[in-house]
């Protein structure tokens, strides 16, 4: 069974630039999550989708972060403009029931 796919794996940008991350969840998984993991910390939930609807985006910095899952499958997370403190690993996870499966993450470095 194919796992959660994410791209790119690494991205380096300058502050104030824009960046987008892509996630392809496990086939058939209705729920998709984006987490931010800053170095030395555990993942922090940014947004949760159920099919193509947002369930929870209470911790998403909406002034600069946006995410969509238009067809209820793939999802993109965008940061515009990026700040130095956005440097982190961005993890995508999907679930069908109770268990969440995580992708390998995208490591973002903002200089």
């Amino acid at each position: 069974e194919a796992g959660v796919a994410q791209s790119p794996r690494y991205k380096i940008i300058e502050k104030r630039q824009s960046v987008a991350f892509w996630c392809n969840p496990i086939s058939g998984h209705a729920t998709l999550y984006w987490y931010q993991q800053i170095l030395g910390q555990g993942p922090k939930l940014l947004i949760q989708f159920q099919n193509n609807g947002v369930v929870d985006d209470s911790q998403l910095p909406k002034d600069r972060f946006s995410a969509e899952r238009l067809k209820g499958v793939d999802s993109t997370l965008k940061i515009q403009p990026a700040k130095l403190e956005d440097s982190a690993v961005y993890l995508c996870a999907s679930s069908l029931a109770e268990k969440q499966y995580f992708g390998p993450g995208t490591r973002l470095t903002v200089t």
Binding site: V4, T31, Y33, Y35, G40, Q41, G42, P43, K44, L45, Q48, Q50, V55, D56, Q59, L91, A93, S95, A97, E98, K99, Q100, Y101, F102, G103, P104, G105
Partner: protein, 113 residues
């Protein structure tokens, strides 16, 4: 937002030793999960505990959920170098299994041969 505190933050021990890591909160969780994360990869679920006082064993790993469902522990017997990694506990606030998780900061474990 409920917080989970993990201790110790770092632990380096010799192969064959036993160890326990802790996950504590002042809040009640409907369930707690333990994950292991290796560099460059996403967390991988080890176990989910749901019932207060529950104990689950996974080979040399023993997981316990506190009676009040506010804390959990992970005990590893006869640690091996392959156990090296970042161990994360994560709590789900309400039942159903589909909520986003609240993670602790993790315990970085190094098992030296």
């Amino acid at each position: 937002t409920q917080l989970l505190e993990q201790s110790p933050q770092f632990l380096s021990i010799q192969e064959g030793e036993n160890l326990t890591v802790y996950c504590n909160s002042s809040s009640v969780f409907s369930s707690l999960q333990w994950y292991r994360q290796e560099p460059g990869e996403g967390p991988v679920l080890l176990v989910t505990v749901v019932t207060g006082g529950e104990v689950k064993k996974l080979k040399r790993l023993t997981f316990q959920f506190g009676d009040a469902r506010k804390d959990s522990s992970l005990h590893i017997t006869a640690a091996q170098p392959g156990d090296t990694g970042l161990y994360l506990c994560a709590g789900e606030e309400s039942g159903g299994g589909a909520d986003g998780l609240t993670f602790g900061k993790g315990t970085h474990l190094i098992i030296q041969p």
